[in-house]
């Protein structure tokens, strides 16, 4: 076992699947010789050749179309969208085409594409690079949306995503790429899509979260423990489809819940999770289900990120409201 950062675990997963299945192709802007702007595809072109790891012209829509076409020839494309803020350029290929392929062909065709892309804020990127657009993706039936929060999860989830026969949007939080290391087995393993993970057990309050907010929520839970509150932290890992079973079981146990997301409050994952909880477990609740989110402005310029992004302090504050209701 090696101590890997999340980006190393992602490279490891890509290597593993490229070795396992010669139909896996990796392509996008600067992913070849350059190894990607974050180095997620470092060394892959050297190891697997230019036929399987290649640079494309600079056009996201074209990359999406290329992925669909290659999948129709039996390949398992793993394109990279350089920053998820650029996703609007490829929205038709994702929501209009890949997500619909199985449906509109009456099940005779499919799009086994895994789109990898760095997203989220906190690393001072230029304008329009960082953003939390997972809510946009989850509103499209036909897609799966996966967001790992640890190196170990990233490897197992990415392998599952590549093997999945439906399109998967695999979002990699930029701040998590190199923020910590974790033991990651060298051998292959998978983590099923659609399964949440209880990252910390507790009995007084359930925090449901994902992505970079998992670490913030754990920090908050540790803080609250000093005041004798026992807080459970659930990492969704897949935000579409949601692992309703794990969420509800936890809420029924603790009787109090809140949802934390880095994205803005309007629409989005947190609103959906709250609705599912009230639909299914309202009689188990001792308090309203509150949310911690970013405010509903456009994602800010880099100097304002730190005041805008939610953090452990915000989580503690809201948690106390729920705990003392």
């Amino acid at each position: 076992m090696a101590q890997l950062t999340m980006i190393q675990a992602i490279t490891d997963a890509l290597k593993t699947e490229m070795k396992n299945d010669e139909n896996v192709l990796v392509f996008g802007e600067d992913v070849g010789n350059n190894g990607g702007v974050f180095r997620a595809t470092e060394g892959l072109q050297k190891e697997f050749g230019e036929d399987r790891v290649f640079d494309t012209p600079l056009a996201e829509s074209g990359i999406g179309g290329l992925a669909i076409g290659l999948a129709l020839q039996g390949y398992r494309p793993v394109p990279e969208i350089q920053f998820f803020g650029f996703v609007y350029e490829v929205m038709d290929s994702i929501s209009g085409q890949m997500a619909r392929m199985r449906f509109r062909s009456g099940g005779s065709l499919n799009s086994p594409v895994t789109i990898r892309s760095p997203f989220g804020g906190g690393v001072h990127t230029p304008e329009m690079h960082a953003d939390s657009l997972e809510g946009l993706m989850t509103s499209q039936p036909g897609l799966k949306v996966v967001i790992p929060s640890t190196p170990y999860d990233a490897k197992g989830l990415l392998i599952s995503a590549i093997r999945d026969n439906d399109p998967v949007i695999f979002l990699e939080h930029m701040k998590l790429y190199r923020s910590f290391r974790q033991e990651v087995p060298e051998e292959e393993y998978t983590i099923p899509l659609g399964k949440a993970d209880v990252k910390r057990e507790g009995k007084d309050l359930t925090i449901i979260t994902y992505g970079a907010m998992v670490q913030e929520s754990i920090k908050a839970a540790e803080e609250l423990e000093k005041e004798d509150y026992s807080v459970e932290v659930i990492d969704l890992r897949t935000v579409q489809p949601l692992d309703i079973e794990t969420i509800i079981a936890s809420v029924e146990k603790t009787g109090r819940a809140m949802v934390v997301q880095e994205a803005q409050k309007q629409a989005g994952i947190a609103a959906n999770v709250v609705a599912e909880i009230t639909d299914r477990a309202i009689l188990s609740l001792d308090a309203p289900v509150l949310r911690v989110t970013a405010p509903d402005s456009i994602f800010p310029f880099s100097q304002a990120e730190q005041v805008w992004l939610p953090n452990a302090k915000d989580i503690v504050e809201t948690a106390k409201k729920v705990l003392t209701f």
Binding site: P57, R102, G106, P141
Partner: protein, 370 residues
Amino acid sequence: MAAKKSQQFDPVETLNAIEEKFEMFQILNEEGEIVNPDADPKLSDEDLQELMRRMVYTRILDQRSISLNRQGRLGFYAPTAGQEASQLASHFALEKEDYILPGYRDVPQLIWHGWPLHQAFLFSRGHFMGNQMADDLNVLPPQIIIGAQFIQAAGVALGIQKRKKEAVAVTYTGDGGSSQGDFYEGINFAGAFRAPAIFIVQNNQYAISTPRELQTSAKTIAQKAVAAGIPGVLVDGMDPLAVYAVTRDARERAIKGEGPTMIETMCYRYGPHTMAGDDPTRYRTSDIDSEWEKKDPLVRFRKYLEAKNLWNEEKENEVIEQAKEEIKAAIKQADAAPKQKVTDLLGLMYEEVPFNVQEQLDIYKAKESK
């Protein structure tokens, strides 16, 4: 101080020079005479008759589809009359292994590639079984988002190249489609990868009502290929022999590893954009219509074949009768398709049914069994 013009690159002159190069290629004129004997693809008598048979059949299919639509027995339909040479002669240059990515008006090519007629009718009616493609049928269902098929064609072509197959990806759009960003991205990607693709723009003069002149300042659409560094061809899209010849050439280049070609076929649709309320008299005059009708692909090909003693009224009537009978049978078959249920639709969402979809499947299953 003004520089001497003669020593400078003159961009206007260069543009004019390029545009002049794109002359319309023709083999068979409006009178059915070979005007370009060197370029005659020299199809066998049987092939010539087969191509005529397909064009006549498709003209009947178009007439019947329009009338079935008016009777409420078909749904979405985009008329094809006038475009038979562009559609069927280009398709005639293809092989079964070639992969077709059609636009919504390109139903005839799919049918002649092997898409059963009753499925085309189901597609028109909005039934998912229309788009269920057999494993060995190399086609996508008709694309609705204009231009999307161009970037996907680049992908299919790159896949064909990687698989080392002897085949090409062929995609169709119209003059309006050539204004889309995906049009440029598609031809540019295929060019950059030297992928075996053929991009066909059926320039039928109007994107719904918007005339071709409003789409672009370019004199021809074919010249847009130059920007992608690939060959572009402007062809008389009412001339079956010319369309066949340029498509066959493009296919040969692609198979040899020489990359993609873009073909602009100059043609006309006699009918409305679709049967959903478009009224061409709002944007075209009957004078324009009759100018184009003189160029009709069936008329000129019929003259050509009759002069060669390869076609006559009897043969034509046989095809018409056959088409009518097969259309009747296909409609009957389409009528027999089961009604679509919400559970069918939910079941088509994913390979493995996720929790939310499963819950809804259970709810609708109960509703539907009542």
